[in-house]
Symmetry: C2
């Protein structure tokens, strides 16, 4: 069977990933080092993520704010561990003026800043400074805010959506009067991400605690959701950090409690980024391109009029618009169905496959014959082919199509989730009990080995370092300790000591 | 009559402006030079602006994208006029790493970028580069995109919302096959801003063409909407630029037309920013703080429970929530009414005035007595006082309140617009016919002199420079040539030559 992309997942997963992005017009190289242009179809997915996640963030009591993109260098010195950890590869603004010189533009050496400004890699330091100003009494707490913003981390090796120097994200930041409250908040954010991934993105994920070495610098506990890509690799798709009093101490976020005593607040932070779009591609895409879960598809139904440059065209177009109006009156997932009539001046023949590659959930072609018969020719992106390998487009009466569209979209959402869930469950093995088994599993030469969930003793310090080194040799990392894993009953696969819990091991993006 | 702010508009307009921002918790100094923190109430207004304007942008056929925040220095050299004009005071990234040195963090001299990166002051250059990639045939046109983004212009003297080094905006960018189409697009964007300001922000504006010296660098025509603040100054609140083929030539945006000939595209750009929030304050605010047009108020109705730390509190709270639920079922301006029960742990006494200062359109207090009688005590922000100078709160039956809330909100919107419109109309004088009259008008020592609309011959070059110098001595600028002004019939107030049109003259932010 011939597919729409020039490369399949089997052949070269990385090349396939890039081909999906290009062929679906999602993003492209900007010509600016490490930065991409997010094109309308890619950005439309981000807008859907924003709208849906923002509603959850607000419903759980958080308010949106905006903080400066620039953070004075000295702010990073306050939280030493934070600096040592990752805050080094950052874009630094040192000057504030260009000038003409011999017909060229150059940086004006006279316009050097007294203190360099870092382009935010994350906003704990600048938001913590504001929290310190806003917090006097227990009455001021909790502070629960969120920001949608661009951040920059200077990456040497970039890959679209997954790792770019500039990316878009939301970062939640909260401060609480008690440890319990802050811990509950951290878990709330994790659960918000988990349910969002499952429900909106049809993306099964494992929620759990990151091992010590994978914690956010300065955090006491870091949780993540981990999704499995079709090549078996893990994608960390959202993180939530319990920061204890570390940042509050460094930034002097103090308050008077009900008894008049001064105490440091307990803080959290949590983020989810455009990286998630890479996850959607690698979880749901197939050899014909992207497949979008209807909940986050910018357009759920696309109608392609088959125009022939003749007298009938106008009637066909009117017919398409009338169908679109019917469809837009339907409601799926509690919102009006998003429908588009593709009137671009390109040829109809290429259009349908264009929308297949873009992953529109339902694609409809309408020509003169359909108009005469009151029909449409409908294609479901999740079931593109018949068992015989033919395109599974179905002729449906116009009214029946409009009446069924919401149910079909909901079925597609469920199908995509089910497919991915089945893949994930098969790909996690839980029966390996020693390190030789780990080596064997990942050395098998299988293209998609998946993950292991193994028992371990949660070693720390030097002992943990040794474990990480051994895993590194196999290109493996510890992903997380799943919250809903079975209790440990045996011995640690790494140390042989009595196991205390179960941890996921895998390759990762 | 004592007012809620410590300074009135009469006493010191600039101090009053800052007091509104502080007392309404809209924004604050961030500690980072020229950058502010936009707090939830201020950001909530921006979110409303985004939602409403974005819907108009999309409805007129534009799609959202995202382009890099960094623009290589060399991109600015392509469009020479653009560079000479304003693109000089900009934040420049020169390094990509910090390092520890003697216990401090410093910029790592080994991590100097080969080519400096400018933090975007606007995105014509980087978007034009993409347009050049996307444009081969007339079939690819028009390109109609928009971006919501942060931009940075290094400002020496900043004022919250009005002029900050970093600000948030939308920038529309389009490319067309013909001059007519691009001109129509430029006017479409202007009309979109005009109607948005009038309808959503209740802000009367004058739409017109900027004089030559006030054009966007590289533009052939720049249009603006100008709003009048309560101190009589103008605020340029949105601009739309017809760029001709200037940027297309510099950036090589070419296409093959229907006849197979290669031609440069015609481009436009248009933007509206967080500056508009400053405009809302200065158009609608009064000596008790902000007054928000209901269409853009983050919360349209705020219910303050008067709790007394006794057994009755729970019943009062439940009663408030029930009223809020009734109100949320109402629809105003085609959307559900946005209502909040203020349950913060601060004292009720201060709460109502807090919401007055924040400008919530309808503020409701509910205590035990109201609960017993089935009433609420409602206050309209646009009519805070009785003619006798008492607070005009009204006791209303709960059901009647909920049933009337939508109509009241719509009335408040109309009232605020009417007030501002009346002020604007009185403040524009059109009968001055010579420069002595101009001098007399603005020298009168009146606090709010307003604007003059005068006839002029549209001088250019050195003659225009002279006009600008003469106006500058009076701290005046040419605002715009109103599109709907009467035709000119007399002589130019500046040159005495036969007049060709009418132009607005005023002080400006």
């Amino acid at each position: 069977m011939k597919h729409a992309l020039s490369v399949t997942r089997e052949q070269d997963f990385a090349a396939w990933y890039q081909a999906v992005i290009t062929e679906a017009d999602m993003a492209e190289d900007s010509g600016v080092r490490g930065c991409m242009v997010i094109r309308p179809w890619g950005y439309g997915i981000w807008e859907r993520i924003q709208a849906l996640l923002d509603a959850r963030i607000k419903a759980s009591g958080h308010e949106n704010c905006y903080f400066p993109i620039f953070i004075p260098l000295s702010y990073f010195e306050k939280e030493a561990e934070h600096v040592e950890g990752f805050a080094k590869e950052m874009a630094v603004v040192t000057h504030h003026r260009l000038k003409g010189e011999a017909g060229r533009l150059v940086v004006d050496p006279d316009a050097k800043l007294e203190e360099p400004l870092v382009v935010r890699p994350t906003s704990e330091t600048v938001i913590g400074t504001a929290f310190a100003r806003w917090t006097q009494s227990w009455r001021d707490l909790p502070l629960m805010i969120n920001q949608w913003a661009n951040v920059v981390r200077w990456e040497m090796r970039t890959r679209m959506f997954l790792r770019t120097s500039e990316f878009l994200w939301q970062e939640g930041h909260t401060a609480h009067a008690t440890r319990d409250e802050a811990e509950a908040e951290t878990r709330m954010a994790l659960e918000m991400y988990r349910s969002f991934a499952e429900d909106a993105l049809a993306m099964p994920v494992i929620a759990g605690e990151k091992p010590e070495n994978e914690r956010f610098p300065g955090a006491v506990v870091t949780y993540s959701i981990e999704a499995m890509m079709q090549d078996g690799k893990a994608l960390q798709a959202g993180t939530s950090h319990f920061l204890g009093q570390n940042f509050a101490t460094a930034q002097n976020i103090r308050f008077q409690d009900k008894d008049g005593q001064t105490a440091f607040a307990w803080t959290t932070s949590w983020g989810l980024s455009t990286r998630m779009i890479g996850g959607i591609i690698m979880v749901h895409g197939d050899d014909d391109g992207l497949r979008l879960p209807p909940v986050v598809a910018p357009r759920q139904v696309v109608i392609v009029p088959m125009l022939r440059d003749n007298d009938e065209d106008e009637a066909v177009l009117d017919y398409c618009k009338a169908i679109a109006a019917d469809v837009a009156r339907q409601s799926a997932f509690g919102e009006p169905v998003r429908v588009l009539v593709d009137t671009k001046a390109t040829k109809a023949a290429g259009k349908r496959w264009g929308w297949v590659k873009k992953g529109a959930p339902i694609i409809v072609e309408v020509g003169g014959r359909d108009l005469a018969a009151g029909n449409v020719s409908a294609l479901r992106r999740d079931r593109l082919y018949t068992p015989e390998g033919k395109l599974a487009s179905a002729i449906v009466a116009r009214d029946a199509f409009a009446a069924s569209v919401a149910a079909t979209l909901e079925e597609i959402q469920t199908n995509l989730h089910g497919e991915a869930k089945a893949r994930l469950e098969v790909a996690i093995r839980r029966d390996v009990t020693d390190f030789a088994g780990v080596e064997a599993f990942f050395a098998e030469g299988v293209v998609r080995p998946g993950w292991l969930e193994v028992e371990w003793a949660r070693p720390t310090g030097a002992e943990l370092d040794q474990v990480i080194e051994r895993l590194k040799a196999l290109k493996l990392t510890l992903r997380n300790v799943p919250l809903d894993a079975a209790p440990a009953a045996g011995v640690c696969v790494f140390t042989g000591a009595p196991a205390v819990e179960r941890v996921l091991v895998g390759r990762a993006y």
